[in-house]
């Protein structure tokens, strides 16, 4: 036992001796927030994303490596609205890091800064795994990203006042480029208006709301419940009366159900990047929306 304690003390003192000028450590629950923090902070922040586009953010194991990361984080950025309820509370209580606990300056919930869609009027588990605070996938609308960027810029400045100027100037530059990009995307996405589509999970609701597409069905019979043969059969029937033009799914979804429906109904199934890293072209936030719109337009040609 003494050896273990000695070892712990040795590791501890070795790490306390690290230079204090290291970059602000950001723990992002999802890749989009890691990318946004990096846009706003540049080399002043080092962002770690707890998940990738290939993982379902609802269902993440509270792995030891995540506890280790959150232990040393200065700022935590998560979607919130109960998206991470199955794993984040555990990471927080085990981290021994007061800087990022709920209510601390280092705790940032992105969905708090935007108007949430699909706030359920009836809350019952028979309806599936619903989020009482509304749909948490707020980043699929670029206008939300702009609002969150403004809030995050202020938060970065508060957590790391020494670099406040950097955050503000980078924030201003990012927002200018972002607003220009939104104007461009809105033009490009104009043909999507009114297009009926089938989603896998309700994770594109904000995108659909922004582009004025029409979501007419979901492959999941209920949120969080994987597609069943009975439900797919029902969808095939439904498509006869009110056909959709495209089926979309995320990189973390199994493509089988979408491809099955696609082959039966004869409409394309498109894997959307969903978040940064979801496809090769979605390298950053700009690429995410470029690629999302291009993939949809390509499928509808």
């Amino acid at each position: 036992m003494k050896t273990i304690l000695k070892l712990a003390a040795a590791i501890g003192s070795a790490l306390l001796a690290l230079p204090a000028a290291a970059a602000l450590k950001v723990f992002a629950c999802e890749p989009e927030w890691g990318a946004l923090a990096q846009e706003l902070g540049g080399d002043k922040v080092s962002a770690y994303s707890a998940t990738t586009a290939l993982q379902d953010p609802h269902r993440i194991e509270a792995r030891p490596s995540l506890i280790a990361r959150i232990r040393s984080a200065d700022l935590l950025i998560c979607s919130g609205s109960e998206l991470e309820i199955g794993w984040l509370p555990l990471l927080l209580t085990q981290s021994g890091n007061s800087k990022v606990q709920l209510g601390a300056a280092g705790y940032f919930e992105a969905s708090q800064y935007v108007a949430r869609l699909e706030v359920p009027k009836v809350i019952d588990r028979a309806l599936g795994d619903i989020h009482p605070g509304g749909n948490p996938h707020v980043h699929t609308d670029p206008r939300n990203i702009a609002r969150i960027a403004t809030a995050l810029e202020d938060r970065l400045a508060r957590v790391d006042p020494a670099n406040a100027e950097t955050y503000h100037s980078r924030g201003k530059s990012f927002l200018a480029r972002w607003q220009a990009a939104i104007a461009r995307w809105e033009q490009e996405a104009a043909p999507l208006k009114g297009v009926p589509l089938v989603v896998y999970h309700k994770d594109f609701s904000y995108f659909i709301n922004w582009t004025r597409m029409r979501e007419i069905a979901a492959l999941e019979p209920k949120p969080g419940i994987p597609p069943t043969p009975a439900h797919l059969a029902h969808l095939i029937d439904q498509m006869k009366n009110s056909p959709a033009k495209v089926i979309v799914y995320s990189p973390y979804n199994s493509p089988q159900a979408a491809e099955f429906l696609s082959s039966r109904v004869g409409i394309p199934a498109v894997m959307m990047p969903f978040t940064v890293g979801g496809t090769d072209n979605a390298k950053d936030l700009f690429g995410l929306f470029d690629d999302t719109i291009q993939r949809l337009l390509g499928a509808l040609k």
């Binding site: 379902d56 030891p64 588990r125």
Partner: protein, 446 residues
Amino acid sequence: MYHKGILAFAVAAALGLPREAGAQTQDELRDLREQVRQLDKRVTDAEQAAIQASSRPAGENALNPAVSLILNGIYSNLSQDPANFKINGFVPTGGDVAPPNRGLSLGESELAIAANIDQVFRGTGIFSVSPDNGIEVEEAYIQTLALSNGFTIKAGRFFSSVGYQNQVHPHAWDFTDAPLASKVFLGNQLSDDGIQLKWVAPTVLYFDVGVEAGRGRNFPAGPDGGRNKNGFGSVNLFTHIGGDFGTGTAWQMGLAYLTTSPRDRVYDDIDSAGTPVTNSFAGKSKLWVLDGILKWAPNFNPTERYFKLQGEYFRRSENGDLTFDTAAATAGGNQTSSYASTQSGGYLQGVYQFVPMWRVGYRYDRLNAGTTSIGLVDSGALTPADFPILAPYNPTRQTIMVDWSPSEFSRVRLQFAQDRSRSDATDNQIFLQYIVSLGAHGAHKF
């Protein structure tokens, strides 16, 4: 949408915007359209904000803690009578180790309440109601949120950090029952009244080290609620190390060392003449537990498929005095002499989710009775037949299970086990069980 447009137009009109658009240049027209668009957007945003404001929970109810209720029920088909259950070769723990009753029975219902108390503490209470209507405090503790540099303090009653499975709530176990090693070394599951200090290292590789000091209210310290003394009845030192391999495998290893000083730790046996006797141990008990867990899922996404490999190895040495027949029910009763034993055991289990909702699992349990020397037998005062439960025997068990989880909140499991805990009979066990959770979304430890 429609009325929003009208509203926006009305606002635009009220602001005194020129109506003779026909006379304006294209640029001004575009500006006007943009203004209307902006107003429309503002109205939309305001509407959404209003919807959210109204849907927010109001009043005292909003501060209610997370409450969840676990219900479970089981059908058991056992080839041996569970009332006669024993694990030969090992001192009975007084814990709840026997299989459930034959036939249909309700399992323990668990009520869990947890919330942040304030900016400094978080509180958790988990109460279990046994099918015969007894209520037990399973866990009730506070833990710190406000400490920094990786430190956490926990105080109250909690599952001891000794081994892996011990800290997992029974409803989250991958098999219906506990490993045999947990049954003989920890009395099924060890929860103690105490205080825990844990430190997580600021390294990318996960590393923690901690100490628990407890009352020693349960086996191995003693089955009777702990000794009447100041200070601590049990001390547990533990450490974990863990991380990721590649982009799909996560692992963790742990080591724990639990020391206790039991006094009057009694157990029942039957002497060579067939008289029921109560024996008692006093001395030192030292338990080492080494555990390892490995979880694989493609890209760490366990939605479709995952595999979980878990194993633990226990080694215990005890040294002290054993009193035979404390109540002097027999002629040779109430004698005390030395007692020393070194015993070990463990299990290895794998669980595989092969399609969403469906999992299969296999577990192998083995205990090694090791060496036990009883002074009263060595001196010839009594014979080994006076301590039949301690007669050397290596229990084993093989278990397979399949379970179906229609959502994260429910599970139905079918389990078969061939249990050779008794030296004289094999118990073929079939369990059909449901476990559901109502209320707050639980978060499960790695």
